[in-house]
């Protein structure tokens, strides 16, 4: 892939894209896609032992970056902004503190940051990134669900055709795949811990699916 557009950082800053802070003002409460499920009450009143633990990492900043993996200037700019480089190898992820980057395709990455930092980071990208690229704040479009516990692999095996053995799916690996007739971007964060990025419109369906599929193991809600 070649860069048609070889603007310097200063030149791209001059033709700046409109960046909008998507967070509602302080009078309006931000609501995650699983707001209606009232996970907080379930966490305090529900069972505290079980084979599956569930948590929503709500209201994170989701930034979709498309750029050229062979452009060293762009890779360096990402590292300047986030303090961590893009994972170039297919199906890998990088993480540093609160920031994580998932490989989605050879020229596309999903960057997760704390929700309150999304605007600032997006603005920094506009200042730092040279050349032809696209950065979209898609925070409202999806949410992150974390599944863990001793039966988590068995639960996921009911939902996805992916081989979840540690040899085939080591910690840090990322796959975009089918998940219980929906789709997800799944990342292994521990031997028995996975993070699913799911579409907002499918999150209620997946929440219901997880409750049903975890009946035999016991479901513990964390909040």
């Amino acid at each position: 892939m070649s860069d048609l557009n070889t603007m310097t950082a200063a030149e791209s800053a001059a033709t700046k894209a409109a960046v909008m802070d998507q967070l509602p003002s302080s009078e309006i409460e931000g609501q995650s896609p699983l707001h209606h499920a009232d996970l907080l009450s379930l966490a305090t009143q529900g069972p505290s032992t079980g084979g599956i633990h569930f948590r929503e990492h709500k209201l994170l900043g989701h930034l979709t970056l498309r750029c050229n993996a062979e452009n060293a200037d762009q890779l360096a700019a990402v590292e300047r902004v986030l303090g961590v480089g893009l994972p170039i190898q297919p199906l890998t992820s990088n993480e540093s503190g609160d920031y994580s980057i998932r490989w989605l395709s050879p020229d596309e990455w999903l960057i997760l940051v704390p929700g309150l930092e999304a605007f600032e980071i997006e603005t920094k990208f506009r200042d730092e990134m040279p050349g032809h690229y696209s950065l979209v704040n898609s925070s409202g479009g999806s949410t992150v669900l974390e599944l863990s516990g001793e039966n988590v692999v068995e639960l996921l095996q009911k939902a996805t055709p992916i081989d979840l053995h540690l040899k085939a799916f080591p910690v840090g690996k990322v796959v975009s795949t089918l998940f219980a007739k929906s789709t997800t971007t799944m990342r292994r964060t521990g031997e028995q811990r996975f993070e699913l990025v799911v579409r907002r419109s499918f999150s209620d369906y997946i929440w219901l699916w997880i409750q049903d599929a975890s009946l035999e193991y016991g479901l513990v809600i964390e909040a």
Binding site: P90, P106, S176, L178
Partner: protein, 121 residues
């Protein structure tokens, strides 16, 4: 269920993650305005339907969402190779088979056409 290797994800995935997107290597005419109705119609609507080797376009719809090409035997369903868009297939019909295929096309065309000499040459 086919087990398909995605050249972008660099691993095998199940068929349900993919969609077939038809014949590969269809070049858009460089100057559409200069095409005859027949040339344009053939570009838009007419596709090969071989029994045997076929070069197809596929998309990893539920995965990386990238397109790639596949050489597949439509009779045995065997996948001979996958390769990225812009690359050339390494598995192709032998020249004799290609000739036989093109002879077939010519004779089919001439059934309704006027020039029978094309089919015999």
């Amino acid at each position: 269920m086919l087990h398909i290797y995605c050249p972008h994800c660099a691993e095998y995935r199940v068929e349900t993650e993919f969609h077939a997107a038809g014949q590969a290597h269809i070049a858009r005419p460089l100057d559409p305005e200069a095409c005859s109705d027949q040339e344009w119609g053939e570009y838009l609507f007419f596709r090969k339907n071989p029994r045997g080797l076929h070069h197809e376009l596929w998309v990893h719809a539920a995965g990386c969402r990238k397109f790639f090409n596949m050489t597949r035997d439509t009779q045995s369903y065997e996948i001979k190779e996958v390769y990225k868009v812009g690359e050339k297939p390494s598995v192709v019909d032998s020249p004799a088979q290609q000739k036989a295929m093109s002879m077939e096309t010519v004779s089919e065309e001439t059934v309704s056409g006027e020039n029978m000499s094309g089919a015999q040459s």
